[in-house]
């Protein structure tokens, strides 16, 4: 089926108009047993009046079979049972990867605020009350058409000079400061401490310093101290002799030894025990290590670059980080900005990642839609550049033509569109609705843990429990 996805928003024609309907046809699947979940024949008629092709499947498994059978799909109307919240998650999973990235409209006899908010978090287009009303169904179809009306914006070409010199992308003032500091520190062998939130690119900066320094021809060895179980980190860093402990099946060189003549990058340095910090300090100061289970002292000539997303000074105050190690590592400190502080770097980085992944997945993508860009600019990017990279990779995988659209972005970026039942689209939310939404978001963030949510919200857990009861969360 071929049709334009970038058609302008259509005006709403009368269902009985004599004029030929020029709106792009939508393909709709309704899911629910005939007769048990409502008047599907009416839904079929309303969809047909709105120039939508309509099909019916009796249940989730058969709907999945129908959706996989071929062709693009735009919308799924699913009647949910009394396990509605669980079913919403199943539907989100089932629609992933379906051609056309169809949106879900959930039909429920009595939707609670909790269900609506859950739906919002999962990127559900709408939650409607059963029995369905014509105006609600038509509204959902109009919203879908509005979402589909997107304008393509060309992506800029990343600056080749920046890429070549530091393998870093960005022209924002905050990044220029980072480049200047890197340029000063790279030629030396000074120890560097890189600080910044998760995903801001600390390892990329460390690698760039290494590549632009006197040890560029040597190895760059990275160790993520938080990823490795505590009991294995020492042997990973310093190596071990065969039989030193259960699991030491062979003699093994540690990362310090592997980095000789080059750079050792110690990521998440705050996540190690004080005992191990003492051993790191000795290795950095004395330039020698001892393998676990071995008595021999091994000289290690390495440049150390460390990084952390934590406040090391606070950790020192709490006696969780050694002050002497801090001063040993922080000879030069580089602070990386958040993605949201980097302005138009978002677009440059997007262009860079689109190019990178389009090449990997054999696609030709040169534009992004205005709505997708708008959603990306509005996003909080708690995972910074790493999150952006992830989002773009996923979008490139699912994109079918040369433009990345809102539909290619993950649910959390396009989740603002869900409407509360019985309230017109675009209507302002009441204070209670806003509060309920915010509480639901925080609960989703904490995985439903009330204690943690109450802490984030700054209220007592009893107050939170009461509000959750009040809002049906």
């Amino acid at each position: 089926m071929s049709r334009s996805r970038a058609a302008p928003p259509a005006s709403v024609a009368s269902p009985h108009s004599a004029e030929p309907d020029r709106r792009p046809a939508l393909r709709v699947l309704a899911v629910g047993a005939e007769g048990s979940s409502g008047p599907w024949h009416q839904l079929r008629q309303w969809a047909s009046d709105e120039a939508a092709e309509f099909e019916l499947a009796p249940d989730l498994p058969r709907a999945v079979r129908r959706l996989s059978a071929g062709g693009r799909w735009d919308l799924v109307f699913a009647a949910l049972s009394d396990r509605a919240e669980e079913e919403l998650a199943w539907w989100t999973d089932a629609l992933r990867g379906v051609d056309g990235s169809p949106r879900l409209v959930a039909l429920v006899p009595k939707p609670s605020m909790g269900l609506v908010l859950r739906a919002e978090n999962l990127g559900v287009l709408d939650v409607l009350t059963l029995p369905a009303r014509r105006e609600d169904v038509v509204r959902s179809l109009h919203r879908l058409r509005a979402v589909a009306a997107e304008t393509a914006v060309s992506l800029p070409q990343p600056d080749g000079e920046t890429l070549r010199q530091y393998a870093l992308v960005g022209e924002s003032p905050s990044m220029l400061e980072v480049y200047k500091l890197m340029a000063r520190v790279a030629p030396s062998t000074a120890t560097v401490l890189i600080q910044g939130e998760s995903g801001t690119g600390k390892e990329v900066v460390a690698r760039a310093i290494h590549l632009n320094g006197p040890r560029a021809s040597g190895p760059f060895v990275a160790v993520n101290c938080a990823a490795i179980p505590e009991n294995l980190l020492e042997s990973e860093l310093f190596g071990h002799e065969k039989g030193a402990f259960t699991g030491a099946v062979t003699r093994k060189m540690g990362r310090f030894e592997l980095a000789v003549g080059g750079t050792l990058f110690l990521d998440e340095i705050a996540d190690m025990s004080l005992a191990l910090q003492a051993k790191i300090l000795r290795a950095v100061q004395e330039h020698e290590v001892e393998r676990v289970g071995g008595g021999e002292t091994i000289p290690v000539d390495v440049r150390v670059i460390a990084a952390t997303n934590r406040d090391l000074k606070a950790a020192i105050a709490q006696s969780r980080f050694r002050e002497d190690l801090y001063y040993r590592l922080a000879v030069v400190t580089i602070q990386l900005p958040r993605l949201t502080e980097r302005g138009d770097d978002l677009l440059l980085l997007t262009a860079f990642f689109v190019g990178h992944f389009a090449e990997r997945y054999g696609k030709r993508i040169n534009a992004i839609s205005d709505r997708a860009l708008e959603a990306m600019r509005a996003h909080r990017w708690v995972g910074n550049v790493r999150e952006l990279r992830n989002v773009i990779e996923r979008a490139v995988i699912v994109a079918g033509d040369s433009t990345l659209r809102l539909e290619h972005l993950p649910e959390e970026l396009r989740s603002e569109e869900v409407a509360l039942p019985g309230r017109p689209v675009g209507g302002l939310a009441t204070l209670a609705e806003s509060e309920a939404r915010h509480i639901a978001r925080v609960l989703a963030h904490t995985g439903g843990q009330i204690g943690a949510a109450a802490e984030i919200l700054g209220i007592h857990r009893n107050t939170l429990t009461r509000k959750m009861r009040e809002y049906g969360l």
């Binding site: 079979r65 990867g97 179980p229 699991g247 934590r310 990779e393």
Partner: protein, 424 residues
């Protein structure tokens, strides 16, 4: 506090197993880690757990424990009652129901002990059909624990008794079980013979409801022996049978095998569609979460084969979420082994953390030897990919020793082939 730290405070006592599961189920990733580089390597041991949350959810755990124990006690009382009423066959059935309850919560050794009691009672009866049921239940548990020899002996004895008693349904189940044992031992021709015998019996009108399952087993066998085309027709018949009977679990299993067959035939899109539909069916089944985890992992393997690492790891993380939330901890070892494989395929040395976590988890499992051997096999392949042949050999040899001791010839042959390639 991290889960790995909290677990160190928990002695390994049988009575505390539900608390261990609760600890994992209430854990969540540290917000600071989710988008950090370490987030890519997150395992259950690195998740955060709080005393407050444990306390809050304790009541649900008590309820679950109480329900489970009530079920066991009620089954026992029923067995006594049936014996008093002179119905020993029904008493055996009650004891086997208790075994099934233990099996459902993954307590396989405990289930085995209920079966032993049932078996002893059944052996003294004139009617041998309860003994057939007990033997088949015991065989299934042996198989799940990787004890193929014992499993085969039970199935053989069940078959002899079932045939003597004209218990066609019992004979069908025993033949099918023997086929499953032969499959694990890599005896393909023997497995096919057993399955075909079961199918003949089922199609002769004495077990129409069982035919779909046997077609599925034949399809699975054809796939494992490297003949995906031979699996297609059996799987079609299995799906038709299961759908006709409204057997959601059967549909999920058949579609999951169909997905693997499609993948082997190079039909990636069809494979993904089959897995997605399998997931939808699995969710209709009460015992769904375990099955759901397995299907997510197969879908992830499909992505890995296509080099789509992001999608593969997202799928594995979905399996992890389901496993942690639904008390499927035994599946976590397989989940982390697959994450480790994904990292190995990307040349990422730090992927070893997943294998270390998988080994730790496998050691605490009921039937740990089989799980441990599977993890060692994957760890060996990981080390091989990253050009550490000595370590690869050490892990593969350990896996081989375990498979040999268990009598898992099919897996042993795989390991030996890997070792041979390593030496070449």
């Amino acid at each position: 506090m991290k889960v790995e730290q909290a677990l160190r405070l928990l002695p390994e006592l049988d009575a505390l197993t539900p608390l261990r599961a609760l600890l994992m189920a209430t854990s969540r990733p540290d917000d600071r880690v989710v988008w950090a580089r370490a987030g890519e390597y997150l395992t259950v041991g690195k998740r955060e757990v709080t005393a407050a949350e444990l306390r809050r959810q304790m009541a649900q755990t008590y309820t679950r424990i109480t329900e489970h124990l009530s079920g066991l006690y009620a089954a026992y009382v029923e067995a006594v009652e049936r014996l008093e009423a002179g119905a020993p066959g029904a008493a055996v059935a009650a004891l086997l129901a208790a075994a099934h309850l233990e099996e459902r919560v993954g307590r396989l050794s405990a289930a085995g002990r209920w079966v032993e009691v049932a078996q002893r009672l059944a052996e003294g009866l004139q009617d041998r059909r309860p003994e057939v049921d007990a033997l088949i239940a015991g065989a299934r548990i042996h198989l799940a624990l990787g004890r193929y020899e014992e499993g085969a002996r039970c199935y053989q004895r069940a078959l002899v008794l079932a045939e003597a008693e004209f218990d066609q349904a019992g004979a069908i189940r025993a033949c099918r079980g023997l086929g499953a044992v032969a499959t694990e031992r890599g005896e393909w021709a023997g497995a096919e013979a057993w399955y075909r015998r079961a199918l003949r019996l089922a199609e002769s009108g004495n077990g129409p409801g069982l035919a779909a399952g046997i077609h599925h087993a034949l399809g699975e066998l054809a796939s494992r022996r490297g003949d995906p085309s031979g699996a297609v027709e059996h799987l079609r018949q299995a799906r038709e049978g299961f759908e006709r009977e409204g057997d959601a679990a059967g549909m999920a299993d058949a579609l999951s095998t169909q997905g693997r067959v499609d993948a082997e035939l190079g039909r990636g899109a069809a494979a993904a569609a089959a897995y997605r539909e399998a997931l939808a069916w699995a969710r209709r089944d009460a015992d769904g979460p375990g099955r759901e985890v397995a299907i997510h992992l197969r879908l992830a393997e499909l992505h890995l084969e296509g080099g789509r690492f992001l999608e593969a790891e997202e799928e594995i993380r979905r399996a992890e979420d389901v496993a942690i939330a639904s008390d499927q901890a035994p599946r976590l070892a397989a989940i982390y082994a697959l994450l480790g494989r994904s990292r190995g395929l990307q040349g990422d040395e730090t992927g070893f953390v997943f294998f270390e976590q998988a080994i730790e988890l496998a050691r605490t499992l009921d039937g740990s030897q089989l799980a441990l051997a599977e993890v060692y096999t994957e760890y060996g392949a990981f080390k091989q990919r990253l050009h550490h042949p000595e370590e690869a050999r050490a892990y593969l040899e350990r896996a081989g020793e375990i498979f040999e001791a268990l009598g898992g010839k099919a897996a042993l042959d795989r390991v030996r082939a890997d070792l041979h390639r390593l030496s070449a």
